[in-house]
């Protein structure tokens, strides 16, 4: 051991290394106001329903009934071979419908693949909305015309798009809010994290709307996250998290409206977790009996978004048998129109495969397009010459 005489003498005026908080550290955001409520926010069956706009409640009911019917019709179309696949949002109609209704004309919706209903509720022609799932093209509409991004199949990858678009609009001084939809499984993706982080840093006018429907295909939420709730994830980014009963349509509408208002007024992004349930299997190609029991499904059927609202409106004398029948008839008529239109074969032009790769076709693609053209012409004219074709006719 060295003796104390060997310790270095500090020169006069030197820094004294006394322990204090790190100099760069300072308190940042107070987490308390960002925390979600301990229980999902509800309107139906609570006193809050008295404050709800009766017109809105009726509108929500009509849209829920149509939405439920749309899901049933689309599922039927898969069985008839008219859709390649349909990821049903049955049981989640309150979320789908509310997401569409809270947006203004100039706002943007960023749907995931299970959100066809939200796209339709926003007003897009359902046949165009179903293009992806019919398989005649990928996106059947002009996203800019309708302010609806393409239905995103790679999970959560559309969230940074929503952030960038909202950020760009804000830089331009435009009054535009982006509402981005994602599922519980999608919250595990890196893009979810990056999008929320960018949005919070940039104070982008975005609403992140998570439908926690219990399952990512077969994997339950418990295997997806150890967070107190998905809404709690907001706190880590410095934005408010809100928890809502996803089967309570006026509650979802209210929480979304508040978040949209906050975004519009420059308050930045919000993360909303709607607790709901995927009543059907992941898609028509999935078998949900392999990973969940009937009891669980039955419990959620008793908490059905359409029936909950119907019950409330009936109890309050705002809806009677006639009204219920009228809503159902209206939905049936919508479904019949959809069925008729989907029963017509789409017009396909194989040459479209080359038409939109680049602004200007490359020489290589021109060659390949010519090859396909020649193959198509040859198969249309198996005799190999026009005269032969004329004779066979």
């Amino acid at each position: 051991m060295k003796k104390s005489s060997t310790t270095v003498q500090e020169p006069p005026g030197a820094v004294v290394h006394r322990s204090t908080p790190p100099p760069a550290w300072q308190p940042r955001t107070d987490p308390a106001p960002l925390l979600p409520d301990p229980e999902p926010y509800r309107v139906l069956g609570t006193e809050a329903v008295a404050d709800a706009d009766p017109e809105l409640l009726r509108r929500l009911y009509a849209e829920l009934v149509r939405g439920r019917r749309f899901n049933a019709q689309a599922t039927a179309l898969t069985k008839q071979g008219r859709l390649a696949v349909y990821p049903s949002s049955t049981g989640q109609e309150a979320c789908e419908v509310a997401a569409a209704l809270v947006l203004q004309e100039q706002d943007w919706l960023f749907p995931s693949y299970r959100d066809t209903l939200a796209v339709v509720a926003r007003g897009l022609d359902p046949v165009r909305a179903l293009t992806l799932l019919r398989g005649d093209w990928h996106t059947g509409y002009d996203p800019r015309e309708h302010r609806i991004a393409p239905l995103s199949t790679p999970l959560a990858t559309q969230l940074p798009h929503a952030v960038g678009l909202a950020h760009a609009a804000r830089l331009k001084g435009d009054d535009v809010v982006a509402l981005a939809m994602v599922g519980d499984g999608g919250t595990s993706e890196g893009d979810f994290h990056e999008a929320l982080n960018f949005a919070a840093v940039w104070k982008a006018p975005v609403v992140f709307f998570v439908q926690n429907n219990g399952f990512a295909i077969s994997v339950p939420l418990a295997k997806q996250t150890a967070a107190p709730s998905l809404a709690h994830k907001a706190v880590g980014y410095g934005m408010p998290g809100r928890l809502v009963d996803g089967n309570d349509a006026p509650a979802v509408h209210s929480v979304l409206t508040e978040a949209v208002r906050r975004a519009r007024s420059g308050g930045g992004p919000t993360l909303i977790e709607a607790v709901t349930y995927r009543i059907e299997a992941h898609t028509n190609a999935d078998d949900a009996t392999r990973y969940r029991g009937d009891g669980e499904v039955e419990a959620w059927r008793a908490h059905d978004p359409v029936r909950l609202l119907e019950h409330e409106l009936t109890e309050r004398g705002m809806l009677d048998e006639d009204g219920i029948r009228k809503a159902a008839d209206d939905a049936d008529a919508m479904a019949a129109r959809l069925r008729d239109r989907m029963n017509a074969d789409p017009e396909l032009d194989p040459m479209d495969l080359f038409a939109h790769i680049y602004a200007e076709q490359t020489a290589q693609l021109r060659e390949q397009a010519a090859q396909l053209r020649a193959e198509l012409d040859a198969s249309a004219d198996p005799a190999g010459d026009a005269a032969g074709q004329g004779e066979t006719r």
């Binding site: 015309e145 393409p150 940074p160 952030v163 678009l165 760009a168 840093v201 939109h356 680049y358 602004a359």
Partner: protein
């Protein structure tokens, strides 16, 4: 046997030495000044001016809303750029290094490359993705990848790489002006290469997609791009001593590929060697060699050869000189082009 003269020299304007990094900076600056929708974003591109200083001064001149230091997340950078482009902006994103661009790969392949097609042309994405690439700067692991084959294999992207100072300016201007996404690969070992080039009278912006003959010759064609151009020009000079008069084609654009210029050259010379730093197996050279063989078979005196990086992860800096194709390796390949059959 002449090298193609630089345009700036030909115009006779006040040409003075400029680096490739300066020419790239100038391209962004001019594009931002002309078009308010051009936005630069990336890691350290603002206050610092980028780790290679390529965005130096842009934040000061145009403000942080136009040249933005983003959070450190490449998928987020490119993903938000997609959204910005959807709203009508023209983002120029910087990926800090080749190997750090990989987190953005999903955004690039699933969205950037496909958006125009999936929306039947209604949603083009005019995004420029700048990626410093390649080795030769003594970088430690993950700083020297030649990642062009990944991008070339993705339909919907343009993939270009300048090899000269004046091309750096002209091609970046063209990339930013393009209505399609462009992966703009910057050979980082050429960042400090200098040429007589005048920022006051920059070259006219040519559309993307044309190769250029950098040196005419009659014996064989070296087909190359980016960082390997200087190697090939040196090899061509050295080859004179062996009696070979080599032509050097600088591809500049890997997608679209200029078959016309390459084929015309190889048909003239009858022999070809493709030279690049990227790994040989599954690399660009295989595609290029196949295209040449398919189009020039009856003009060829020898099989098309490739000089490429070995099929190994990029080496540590003290060993990289063994991996990078150099003049000797190029000359060895030229020597194997079956000259004895000529005599």
């Amino acid at each position: 046997m002449t090298t193609v003269a630089s345009r700036a020299t030909r115009t006779g304007k006040a040409a003075k030495p400029a680096t490739m990094a300066q020419a790239l900076q100038r391209a962004m600056r001019d594009a931002m000044a002309e078009d308010p929708t051009v936005h630069v974003l990336g890691e350290d591109v603002g206050t610092l001016g980028g780790v290679f200083r390529v965005t130096d001064g842009l934040a000061a001149e145009f403000g942080e809303d136009r040249c933005t230091d983003t959070p450190l997340a490449e998928a987020g950078i490119l993903g938000t750029a997609v959204g910005m482009a959807m709203y009508g902006l023209r983002p120029v994103v910087e990926m800090q290094f080749d190997a750090f661009a990989y987190p953005a790969f999903e955004q690039l392949t699933s969205h950037v490359a496909k958006m125009r097609n999936r929306t039947r042309g209604s949603l083009p994405l005019p995004i420029t993705i700048r990626v410093p690439y390649g080795g030769g700067i003594g970088g430690v692991e993950h700083h020297s990848d030649s990642s062009e084959a990944y991008y070339m294999a993705t339909p919907g992207l343009h993939v270009v790489t300048p090899a000269t100072v004046e091309d750096a300016y002209g091609m970046l201007r063209a990339a930013i002006a393009s209505d399609d996404p462009v992966v703009f690969l910057e050979p980082k070992r050429l960042y400090w290469s200098k040429a007589q080039w005048s920022p006051e009278s920059p070259a006219a912006v040519e559309p993307i997609g044309r190769a250029v003959v950098r040196r005419t010759g009659l014996s064989a064609t070296l087909v190359t791009y980016g960082p390997s151009l200087t190697v090939c020009l040196e090899a061509a000079e050295a080859a004179r001593a062996e009696g070979w008069d080599l032509e050097v084609v600088d591809l500049r654009s890997l997608v679209p590929f200029d078959d016309e210029t390459v084929v015309a050259s190889v048909r003239r010379t009858g022999r070809a060697v493709v030279v690049h730093e990227s790994n040989g197996f599954g690399g660009p050279g295989g595609e290029i060699a196949a295209r040449i063989s398919e189009r020039c078979f009856h003009h060829l005196e020898a099989p098309v050869l490739r000089v490429a990086g070995f099929d190994i992860p990029y080496p540590p800096p003290m060993l990289e000189q063994h991996h990078l194709p150099g003049v000797d390796r190029v000359l060895d390949a030229v020597a194997r082009l079956q000259w004895e059959a000529d005599s």
